[in-house]
């Protein structure tokens, strides 16, 4: 196999120099304003990893204040201006709210969504369906570059004296409607992030429907592509509703309309001191519009990771994915149900109990497709010859963390329990299990799995495993205790728990959580170091290092613009591992069957076809 790989390499090098004569792009067109989906994916990777650090730092500052209220922040305390750090460098309540808001907003809108869609989606879709680029490559480029001004606006309050947005990532009015310039910029920034994500989503839909290689029918597509496709549909239909809610919120905030301001609210706008509101609006309306997007957004954040994990598991268990079509229909089911459950975020906001009951039912029904996926992943692992590479470890971590996050979700789905645990750390624990424990581990898995294709270099497996194991340990040490203090009544979003007598006994646990969180934060530097070191000194990657079936591995390592150097025809589904009619334990989608294999198939037809 090595010989084949190096032969391809030589061929590829030749093609490379050949192409340079005809077709050389300027530095700017090649690396900055590039149309190439792989370069755009790398740009997404760089920016999201950067924002991952920014959002993580905000989280650690928040944790420091909760565990050690009023104590100066180590190292950074002396750098904080008076308004944020007081005279001692301890986090002030106003600054705490800003940090908490920005942590949520950055992690959701600038890290996870662009990671799973921008990075994984851009890199995988054209390669895995066997085409040269997206349907509209220039639109794809804009969908990245719009993120940059959007992110600057979202965090724009950083340079203002009045500070950043403080209304939480959910930005509930009336609070968000009467806040100052930081919040106004946050709203505009988020609107632009949403627009960028729609531009990406509509492009993905067209690419999957229109640009599949010869023989690549919809039901021969890998799970990653199916998940990204359904996600793109969710983005296309969900994000604009958030956009319309943000427009109304912007009008309230900036032009002092009253879409979300009730009659007779006595409030002064921090933006310009106005206290005249016509009234007649409904704050609850915003919550309905917001969650109509933001619940599907939960699935926007996790479905691509589910797809990645399915592909990684099949590859490293050397078995076909268990229940391929069931997995696809489960994703579709989750996508559809995701649009009719938004009310479960609002049980405590004032809702008819009858309506609440319907939302309870629709929410609990989501457990069915989720369980189908869980059992199918377990079925894939069952009896497989598993190789625990870093990518596979991430995938296993994904499934186990998704089970815990999913089970705690059932608590919240039933209104009776939710009324008790609403807005406590139990919720915080739940969504971190789903978003970090599942989505982010899925992203790590994708990085470990596709890095050799992305950069043509192997990552260090040992460091990779270290990173995954320690992330897993610190992650659980950080977030598992939050279930306990949550059930004990510890509220979210409070700057100083020690002002409540009944929370004082939790202070030791809070300190433990904070130290674990710091550990979790520092563990991520292993990943960063692994990437940076191996970009320069890494071992050159062969064409198909994991002996995988899907089309991206037919392309040369670190493919150039155009992706493939051979004609791509697809002969079979993506999960033909350990096929009984074949000697080798994998059967790539692009390899034509030999005479003997066709004969064997006739004699002993496999159920997979």
């Amino acid at each position: 196999m090595e010989a084949i790989a190096s032969a391809h390499e030589a061929h590829h090098d030749h093609g490379d120099s050949h192409a340079h004569d005809h077709h050389s792009l300027s530095f700017v067109r090649k690396y900055i304003f590039s149309n190439d989906h792989k370069v755009i994916a790398k740009q997404f990777m760089t920016t999201t990893l950067f924002f991952f650090m920014v959002g993580g730092l905000a989280a650690l500052l928040v944790r420091w204040q909760i565990a050690f209220p009023g104590e100066p922040v180590p190292f950074l305390g002396s750098l904080l201006p008076e308004a944020w750090g007081g005279s001692t460098g301890a986090i002030q309540p106003g600054f705490y709210s800003q940090l908490m808001t920005m942590h949520g907003a950055i992690m959701l809108f600038l890290v996870i969504i662009p990671m799973v869609n921008g990075m994984i989606g851009n890199f995988c879709i054209p390669l895995m369906i066997g085409t040269d680029d997206m349907a509209l490559p220039t639109l794809n480029m804009f969908s990245f570059w719009l993120n940059i001004p959007a992110a600057m606006l979202l965090m724009g309050g950083f340079v203002l004296e009045s500070g950043m947005a403080t209304a939480g990532w959910t930005a509930y009015p009336p609070l968000s409607a009467i806040q100052g310039a930081g919040q106004t910029m946050w709203i505009v920034g988020l609107f632009l992030v949403g627009f960028a994500s729609i531009m990406g989503g509509i492009n993905y839909i067209a690419t999957v429907l229109n640009k599949r290689a010869k023989g690549m029918s919809m039901f021969r597509m890998p799970m990653t592509i199916w998940a990204l496709f359904i996600t793109a549909v969710l983005i296309t239909l969900g994000t604009p509703v958030l956009a319309s809610a943000l427009v109304m919120l912007f009008f309230d905030n900036f032009l002092h309309t009253s879409f979300f301001i009730p009659t007779n609210l006595l409030a002064t706008s921090a933006l310009d001191g106005t206290n005249h509101w016509s009234g007649g609006g409904q704050p609850l309306l915003f919550q309905h519009l917001f969650w109509f997007y933001s619940h599907p957004a939960v699935y926007i954040m996790i479905l691509p990771s589910m797809g990645v994990v399915s592909d990684v598991m099949a590859t490293f268990a050397r078995k076909p994915i268990f229940g391929y079509k069931a997995m696809i229909f489960a994703i579709m089911g989750i996508g559809f149900l995701g649009f009719i459950v938004w009310g479960h975020h609002m049980f405590q906001s004032g809702m008819s109990p009858l309506l609440g009951t319907t939302f309870v039912l629709s929410t609990i029904v989501i457990a069915v497709p989720s369980a189908i996926k869980i059992f199918n992943w377990l079925g894939t692992l069952w009896g497989g010859s598993i190789r625990y590479t870093a990518a596979m470890m991430c995938a296993v971590a994904f499934v186990s963390m998704f089970i815990i996050g999913g089970l705690s979700g059932i608590f919240m789905a039933s209104a009776a329990v939710d009324i008790y645990i609403h807005d406590t750390y139990f919720i915080v624990a739940h969504f971190h299990y789903v978003l970090f424990g599942a989505s982010i581990f899925g992203v790590f898995s994708a990085i470990y799995y596709w890095f050799p294709k992305m950069y043509g270099k192997m990552l260090n497996e040992g460091w990779g495993r270290m990173h995954v194991i320690w992330s897993f340990i610190f992650f659980n040490l950080t977030f598992f205790p939050m279930h306990i203090i949550g059930v004990g009544g510890h509220m979210r979003r409070i700057a100083d728990p020690t002002v409540y007598d009944f929370l004082k006994p939790f202070q030791g646990m809070n300190a433990f959580i904070t130290w674990s969180a710091i550990g979790l934060g520092f563990t991520q530097f292993i990943l960063l170091f692994n990437i940076i070191w191996n970009l320069n000194y890494g071992k050159k990657a062969p064409r198909n290092p994991w002996r995988s079936n899907t089309l991206e591995w037919a392309a040369p390592p670190h493919p150039g613009h155009g992706n493939f150097d051979t004609d791509i025809t697809v002969y079979r589904g993506p999960y033909e591992y350990s096929h009984e009619n074949r000697e080798s334990d994998y059967w790539p989608q692009w390899v034509p069957p030999t005479e003997e294999e066709i004969e064997a198939e006739k004699l002993n037809p496999s159920h997979a076809h």
Partner: protein
């Protein structure tokens, strides 16, 4: 580095890429305006008196003229596509020209409508009705401007030596333009005509 192989082929679905993206984008746009219309429905029911009073300030005659402008422009847009497909450049220019004129006509009327409101201090912050009026018509007008720009570009290109022959692009723009028209068809009755005439007449 670039590879010599060309993997581009005909779209699998038979629908050109740009058109497919435009259909997906329009689905997205429908959801965007649905957010507005949903909020409009909820808050109109909650503030029916304010909405009834607000409607009386609007100029139905101007809005009717605008409706005629937009419907005409949708027709001429379709005719311009048809003529470009038949490579009939002259008629393409005529119909595209009329479309652009109608679109500008719409904006001019809108300008007079808005300035009349401003003169009477009917601003978005005046009442929940005017908040909806300015937001919804404002976003619609922004969509009209978004349509005019590529229209003018195509129109001017057709006069150059190379001419303009890409009828698929005009068709894609046409899809968008019909959508903008359709939004107005919903906005016009919702804001101007949903007027409780019978209710008032009864008093």
């Amino acid at each position: 580095m670039s590879l010599a192989l060309d993997l581009r082929h005909e779209p699998v679905s038979g629908i050109p890429h740009g058109k497919m993206v435009m259909w997906a984008f329009l689905a997205s746009e429908i959801m965007f305006f649905s957010g507005f219309f949903g909020a409009f429905t909820v808050l109109r029911n909650a503030n029916i008196d304010i909405f009834m009073e607000g409607t009386t300030h609007l100029n139905v005659a101007m809005a009717t003229i605008n409706t005629v402008f937009l419907i005409t422009s949708s027709l001429t847009m379709a005719l311009s596509i048809l003529n470009l497909e038949k490579k009939n450049t002259k008629m393409f220019q005529v119909f595209m020209g009329i479309t652009i004129l109608c679109a500008f006509g719409f904006l001019v009327v809108k300008y007079f409508e808005y300035s009349a409101k401003f003169e009477h201090h009917l601003l978005p912050s005046k009442s929940i009705f005017f908040a909806f009026y300015f937001m919804m018509t404002g976003f619609h007008a922004a969509h009209v401007i978004g349509g005019i720009i590529p229209m003018v570009w195509m129109f001017l290109r057709s006069f150059t030596k190379k001419g303009y022959t890409n009828h698929v692009r005009v068709e894609i723009l046409g899809l968008y333009w019909h959508f903008v028209d359709l939004v107005w068809i919903f906005l016009f009755p919702a804001l101007y005509l949903l007027f409780p005439g019978a209710h008032h007449g009864g008093h």
